[in-house]
Symmetry: C2
Subunit: 156 residues, 2 copies
Protein backbone atom coordinates (compact mmCIF):
# COMPACT_ATOMS: atom_id res chain seq x y z
CA UNK A 1 0.00 0.00 0.00
CA UNK A 2 2.78 2.39 1.03
CA UNK A 3 4.53 2.12 -2.36
CA UNK A 4 1.61 3.57 -4.31
CA UNK A 5 1.32 6.44 -1.84
CA UNK A 6 5.06 7.08 -2.16
CA UNK A 7 4.60 7.08 -5.93
CA UNK A 8 1.80 9.64 -5.70
CA UNK A 9 3.81 11.87 -3.37
CA UNK A 10 6.80 11.74 -5.71
CA UNK A 11 4.69 12.47 -8.80
CA UNK A 12 2.99 15.33 -6.96
CA UNK A 13 6.36 16.90 -6.12
CA UNK A 14 7.36 16.48 -9.76
CA UNK A 15 4.23 18.37 -10.80
CA UNK A 16 4.96 21.13 -8.27
CA UNK A 17 8.44 21.46 -9.83
CA UNK A 18 6.86 21.44 -13.30
CA UNK A 19 4.57 24.30 -12.20
CA UNK A 20 7.56 26.53 -11.35
CA UNK A 21 8.09 27.23 -15.06
CA UNK A 22 4.42 27.90 -15.82
CA UNK A 23 2.74 31.29 -15.43
CA UNK A 24 0.16 31.76 -12.69
CA UNK A 25 -2.32 32.63 -15.42
CA UNK A 26 -1.88 29.16 -17.00
CA UNK A 27 -1.97 27.45 -13.59
CA UNK A 28 -5.28 29.14 -12.73
CA UNK A 29 -6.87 29.06 -16.20
CA UNK A 30 -10.22 27.28 -16.48
CA UNK A 31 -9.81 24.06 -18.50
CA UNK A 32 -12.07 21.33 -19.87
CA UNK A 33 -12.48 18.20 -17.75
CA UNK A 34 -11.80 17.14 -14.19
CA UNK A 35 -11.80 19.84 -11.60
CA UNK A 36 -11.15 22.42 -14.32
CA UNK A 37 -7.62 23.74 -13.77
CA UNK A 38 -4.02 22.75 -13.06
CA UNK A 39 -3.45 24.28 -9.63
CA UNK A 40 -6.99 23.53 -8.54
CA UNK A 41 -6.35 19.85 -9.38
CA UNK A 42 -3.19 19.77 -7.27
CA UNK A 43 -5.09 21.42 -4.41
CA UNK A 44 -7.90 18.91 -4.87
CA UNK A 45 -5.72 15.78 -4.63
CA UNK A 46 -4.01 17.13 -1.52
CA UNK A 47 -7.39 17.97 0.02
CA UNK A 48 -9.00 14.62 -0.85
CA UNK A 49 -6.07 12.52 0.40
CA UNK A 50 -5.93 14.46 3.66
CA UNK A 51 -9.69 14.49 4.24
CA UNK A 52 -10.20 10.75 3.68
CA UNK A 53 -7.20 9.86 5.83
CA UNK A 54 -8.52 12.18 8.55
CA UNK A 55 -11.81 10.28 8.28
CA UNK A 56 -9.96 7.00 8.88
CA UNK A 57 -8.35 8.52 11.97
CA UNK A 58 -11.52 10.07 13.37
CA UNK A 59 -10.20 13.58 12.77
CA UNK A 60 -12.21 16.40 11.13
CA UNK A 61 -11.96 16.82 7.35
CA UNK A 62 -10.47 19.82 5.59
CA UNK A 63 -13.26 22.02 4.24
CA UNK A 64 -11.61 25.22 3.03
CA UNK A 65 -12.20 26.26 -0.59
CA UNK A 66 -9.55 26.42 -3.31
CA UNK A 67 -10.07 30.18 -3.50
CA UNK A 68 -8.22 30.53 -0.16
CA UNK A 69 -5.15 28.74 -1.61
CA UNK A 70 -5.09 29.85 -5.24
CA UNK A 71 -1.33 30.35 -5.66
CA UNK A 72 1.45 27.83 -6.17
CA UNK A 73 3.35 28.57 -2.90
CA UNK A 74 0.13 28.27 -0.90
CA UNK A 75 -0.75 24.86 -2.40
CA UNK A 76 2.83 23.62 -1.91
CA UNK A 77 2.73 24.77 1.73
CA UNK A 78 -0.63 23.12 2.32
CA UNK A 79 0.62 19.86 0.76
CA UNK A 80 3.70 19.88 3.00
CA UNK A 81 1.64 20.60 6.10
CA UNK A 82 -0.86 17.85 5.38
CA UNK A 83 1.92 15.43 4.45
CA UNK A 84 3.27 15.69 8.01
CA UNK A 85 0.00 14.22 9.24
CA UNK A 86 -0.71 11.79 6.41
CA UNK A 87 2.70 10.17 6.14
CA UNK A 88 2.85 8.56 9.63
CA UNK A 89 -0.62 7.09 9.17
CA UNK A 90 0.21 5.54 5.80
CA UNK A 91 3.55 4.30 7.11
CA UNK A 92 1.87 2.59 10.05
CA UNK A 93 -0.63 0.77 7.80
CA UNK A 94 -0.95 -2.97 8.46
CA UNK A 95 -2.94 -5.69 6.72
CA UNK A 96 -5.17 -5.94 9.80
CA UNK A 97 -6.56 -2.48 9.02
CA UNK A 98 -7.85 -3.57 5.58
CA UNK A 99 -11.30 -4.61 6.70
CA UNK A 100 -11.92 -2.11 9.51
CA UNK A 101 -15.19 -0.27 8.87
CA UNK A 102 -15.61 3.47 8.39
CA UNK A 103 -19.12 4.81 8.98
CA UNK A 104 -19.84 7.76 6.70
CA UNK A 105 -22.76 9.67 5.19
CA UNK A 106 -23.56 9.55 1.46
CA UNK A 107 -23.97 12.74 -0.63
CA UNK A 108 -27.73 12.16 -0.23
CA UNK A 109 -27.38 12.12 3.57
CA UNK A 110 -27.83 8.37 3.99
CA UNK A 111 -25.57 6.29 6.26
CA UNK A 112 -22.93 4.27 4.36
CA UNK A 113 -19.94 2.21 5.37
CA UNK A 114 -16.60 1.66 3.70
CA UNK A 115 -13.68 -0.61 4.46
CA UNK A 116 -10.41 1.08 5.36
CA UNK A 117 -8.61 -0.75 2.54
CA UNK A 118 -11.25 0.46 0.12
CA UNK A 119 -10.69 4.09 1.10
CA UNK A 120 -6.90 3.76 0.84
CA UNK A 121 -7.20 2.43 -2.71
CA UNK A 122 -9.78 5.08 -3.55
CA UNK A 123 -7.32 7.78 -2.50
CA UNK A 124 -4.50 6.19 -4.53
CA UNK A 125 -6.57 5.85 -7.71
CA UNK A 126 -8.05 9.34 -7.26
CA UNK A 127 -4.68 11.07 -7.45
CA UNK A 128 -3.34 8.99 -10.35
CA UNK A 129 -6.52 9.69 -12.34
CA UNK A 130 -6.22 13.45 -11.84
CA UNK A 131 -2.52 13.44 -12.78
CA UNK A 132 -3.60 11.89 -16.09
CA UNK A 133 -5.75 14.96 -16.67
CA UNK A 134 -2.80 17.25 -15.92
CA UNK A 135 -0.77 15.41 -18.55
CA UNK A 136 -3.30 16.36 -21.27
CA UNK A 137 -3.41 20.00 -20.18
CA UNK A 138 0.39 20.02 -20.08
CA UNK A 139 0.54 19.07 -23.77
CA UNK A 140 -2.12 21.67 -24.54
CA UNK A 141 0.21 24.39 -23.28
CA UNK A 142 3.13 22.85 -25.17
CA UNK A 143 4.99 21.38 -22.20
CA UNK A 144 6.26 17.83 -21.63
CA UNK A 145 4.26 16.35 -18.72
CA UNK A 146 5.70 14.67 -15.64
CA UNK A 147 6.22 10.97 -16.33
CA UNK A 148 3.55 8.71 -14.88
CA UNK A 149 5.93 5.75 -14.78
CA UNK A 150 6.00 3.88 -11.50
CA UNK A 151 9.19 2.07 -12.54
CA UNK A 152 12.54 3.88 -12.61
CA UNK A 153 11.68 6.08 -9.62
CA UNK A 154 13.86 4.33 -7.06
CA UNK A 155 10.78 3.06 -5.24
CA UNK A 156 12.22 -0.50 -5.08
CA UNK B 1 -3.17 -6.07 -5.35
CA UNK B 2 -6.12 -7.88 -6.94
CA UNK B 3 -8.57 -5.13 -5.95
CA UNK B 4 -6.84 -2.44 -8.00
CA UNK B 5 -6.72 -4.75 -11.02
CA UNK B 6 -10.43 -5.50 -10.56
CA UNK B 7 -11.04 -1.77 -10.41
CA UNK B 8 -9.14 -1.21 -13.66
CA UNK B 9 -10.98 -4.04 -15.41
CA UNK B 10 -14.34 -2.65 -14.30
CA UNK B 11 -13.45 0.91 -15.33
CA UNK B 12 -12.20 -0.39 -18.69
CA UNK B 13 -15.50 -2.16 -19.31
CA UNK B 14 -17.32 1.04 -18.39
CA UNK B 15 -15.26 2.91 -20.99
CA UNK B 16 -16.02 0.26 -23.61
CA UNK B 17 -19.74 0.74 -22.84
CA UNK B 18 -19.25 4.52 -23.01
CA UNK B 19 -17.66 4.10 -26.46
CA UNK B 20 -20.79 2.43 -27.82
CA UNK B 21 -22.52 5.83 -28.07
CA UNK B 22 -19.55 7.58 -29.67
CA UNK B 23 -18.88 7.68 -33.41
CA UNK B 24 -15.90 5.78 -34.77
CA UNK B 25 -14.60 9.09 -36.09
CA UNK B 26 -14.45 10.51 -32.55
CA UNK B 27 -12.95 7.29 -31.19
CA UNK B 28 -10.16 7.39 -33.77
CA UNK B 29 -9.64 11.17 -33.88
CA UNK B 30 -6.11 12.41 -33.07
CA UNK B 31 -6.14 14.25 -29.72
CA UNK B 32 -3.67 16.23 -27.63
CA UNK B 33 -1.81 14.35 -24.89
CA UNK B 34 -1.14 10.75 -23.96
CA UNK B 35 -1.22 8.24 -26.75
CA UNK B 36 -3.30 10.64 -28.84
CA UNK B 37 -6.76 9.10 -29.18
CA UNK B 38 -9.57 7.40 -27.28
CA UNK B 39 -9.59 3.93 -28.84
CA UNK B 40 -5.83 3.90 -29.18
CA UNK B 41 -5.59 4.55 -25.43
CA UNK B 42 -7.88 1.63 -24.64
CA UNK B 43 -5.83 -0.59 -26.95
CA UNK B 44 -2.65 0.68 -25.27
CA UNK B 45 -3.70 -0.14 -21.68
CA UNK B 46 -4.80 -3.62 -22.75
CA UNK B 47 -1.50 -4.14 -24.60
CA UNK B 48 0.69 -2.83 -21.77
CA UNK B 49 -1.05 -4.83 -19.05
CA UNK B 50 -0.83 -8.01 -21.11
CA UNK B 51 2.76 -7.48 -22.21
CA UNK B 52 4.14 -6.78 -18.73
CA UNK B 53 2.25 -9.68 -17.22
CA UNK B 54 3.55 -11.93 -20.00
CA UNK B 55 7.03 -10.74 -19.06
CA UNK B 56 6.44 -11.79 -15.46
CA UNK B 57 5.37 -15.23 -16.69
CA UNK B 58 8.24 -15.68 -19.16
CA UNK B 59 5.86 -15.51 -22.11
CA UNK B 60 6.44 -13.38 -25.23
CA UNK B 61 5.05 -9.84 -25.29
CA UNK B 62 2.34 -8.59 -27.64
CA UNK B 63 3.91 -6.53 -30.41
CA UNK B 64 1.14 -5.88 -32.94
CA UNK B 65 0.37 -2.25 -33.82
CA UNK B 66 -2.86 -0.39 -33.04
CA UNK B 67 -3.52 -0.11 -36.78
CA UNK B 68 -4.38 -3.83 -36.85
CA UNK B 69 -7.09 -3.32 -34.18
CA UNK B 70 -8.47 0.14 -34.95
CA UNK B 71 -12.16 -0.53 -34.36
CA UNK B 72 -14.14 -0.81 -31.14
CA UNK B 73 -15.19 -4.47 -31.57
CA UNK B 74 -11.59 -5.49 -32.30
CA UNK B 75 -10.23 -3.78 -29.19
CA UNK B 76 -13.02 -5.24 -27.05
CA UNK B 77 -12.26 -8.72 -28.44
CA UNK B 78 -8.55 -8.32 -27.83
CA UNK B 79 -9.18 -7.15 -24.25
CA UNK B 80 -11.41 -10.17 -23.58
CA UNK B 81 -8.86 -12.57 -25.08
CA UNK B 82 -5.98 -11.13 -23.07
CA UNK B 83 -8.09 -11.02 -19.92
CA UNK B 84 -8.42 -14.82 -20.05
CA UNK B 85 -4.66 -15.05 -19.63
CA UNK B 86 -4.10 -12.12 -17.31
CA UNK B 87 -6.84 -12.82 -14.79
CA UNK B 88 -5.55 -16.19 -13.47
CA UNK B 89 -2.06 -14.75 -12.99
CA UNK B 90 -3.33 -11.74 -11.02
CA UNK B 91 -5.68 -13.94 -9.02
CA UNK B 92 -2.84 -16.27 -8.05
CA UNK B 93 -0.65 -13.38 -6.84
CA UNK B 94 0.90 -13.88 -3.38
CA UNK B 95 3.02 -11.61 -1.20
CA UNK B 96 5.98 -13.93 -1.79
CA UNK B 97 6.06 -12.83 -5.43
CA UNK B 98 6.59 -9.14 -4.51
CA UNK B 99 10.38 -9.22 -4.55
CA UNK B 100 11.00 -11.76 -7.31
CA UNK B 101 13.31 -10.24 -9.92
CA UNK B 102 12.50 -9.69 -13.59
CA UNK B 103 15.49 -9.26 -15.88
CA UNK B 104 14.69 -6.88 -18.72
CA UNK B 105 16.39 -4.62 -21.25
CA UNK B 106 16.13 -0.81 -21.09
CA UNK B 107 15.02 1.29 -24.10
CA UNK B 108 18.75 1.97 -24.61
CA UNK B 109 19.48 -1.77 -24.75
CA UNK B 110 21.08 -2.02 -21.33
CA UNK B 111 20.24 -4.82 -18.89
CA UNK B 112 17.87 -3.74 -16.09
CA UNK B 113 15.99 -5.55 -13.34
CA UNK B 114 12.62 -4.90 -11.78
CA UNK B 115 10.80 -6.44 -8.85
CA UNK B 116 7.57 -8.24 -9.65
CA UNK B 117 5.66 -6.04 -7.17
CA UNK B 118 7.07 -2.97 -8.89
CA UNK B 119 5.79 -4.12 -12.29
CA UNK B 120 2.34 -4.95 -10.91
CA UNK B 121 2.00 -1.44 -9.46
CA UNK B 122 3.38 0.09 -12.65
CA UNK B 123 0.64 -1.66 -14.64
CA UNK B 124 -2.05 -0.51 -12.19
CA UNK B 125 -0.93 3.14 -12.20
CA UNK B 126 -0.44 3.11 -15.97
CA UNK B 127 -4.08 2.31 -16.70
CA UNK B 128 -5.52 4.72 -14.12
CA UNK B 129 -3.35 7.54 -15.52
CA UNK B 130 -4.56 6.93 -19.06
CA UNK B 131 -8.20 6.78 -17.96
CA UNK B 132 -7.69 10.28 -16.53
CA UNK B 133 -6.76 11.41 -20.03
CA UNK B 134 -9.92 9.82 -21.46
CA UNK B 135 -11.97 11.79 -18.95
CA UNK B 136 -10.68 15.11 -20.35
CA UNK B 137 -11.32 14.06 -23.96
CA UNK B 138 -14.79 12.89 -22.93
CA UNK B 139 -15.67 16.39 -21.70
CA UNK B 140 -14.18 17.87 -24.88
CA UNK B 141 -16.75 15.97 -26.93
CA UNK B 142 -19.51 16.95 -24.50
CA UNK B 143 -19.98 13.60 -22.80
CA UNK B 144 -19.98 12.71 -19.11
CA UNK B 145 -16.91 10.51 -18.46
CA UNK B 146 -16.90 7.16 -16.67
CA UNK B 147 -16.51 7.71 -12.93
CA UNK B 148 -13.02 7.10 -11.60
CA UNK B 149 -14.33 6.35 -8.12
CA UNK B 150 -12.96 3.20 -6.55
CA UNK B 151 -15.66 3.31 -3.87
CA UNK B 152 -19.27 2.40 -4.68
CA UNK B 153 -18.27 -0.25 -7.24
CA UNK B 154 -19.07 -3.29 -5.13
CA UNK B 155 -15.37 -4.15 -4.90
CA UNK B 156 -15.64 -4.68 -1.12
Amino acid sequence: MLKLFEYNWQVRQDWFAWCQDVSEEELLKKRTGGIGGILHTLFHVVDVEYSWLCGLQGKPEFTEPFESYASLPKVIDLAARFHEEVHPFVQSWTDEMELKTLADVSPKGEPVTFKYGEIMRHVIAHEIHHMGQLSVWSREIGKVPVTANFIRRGLY
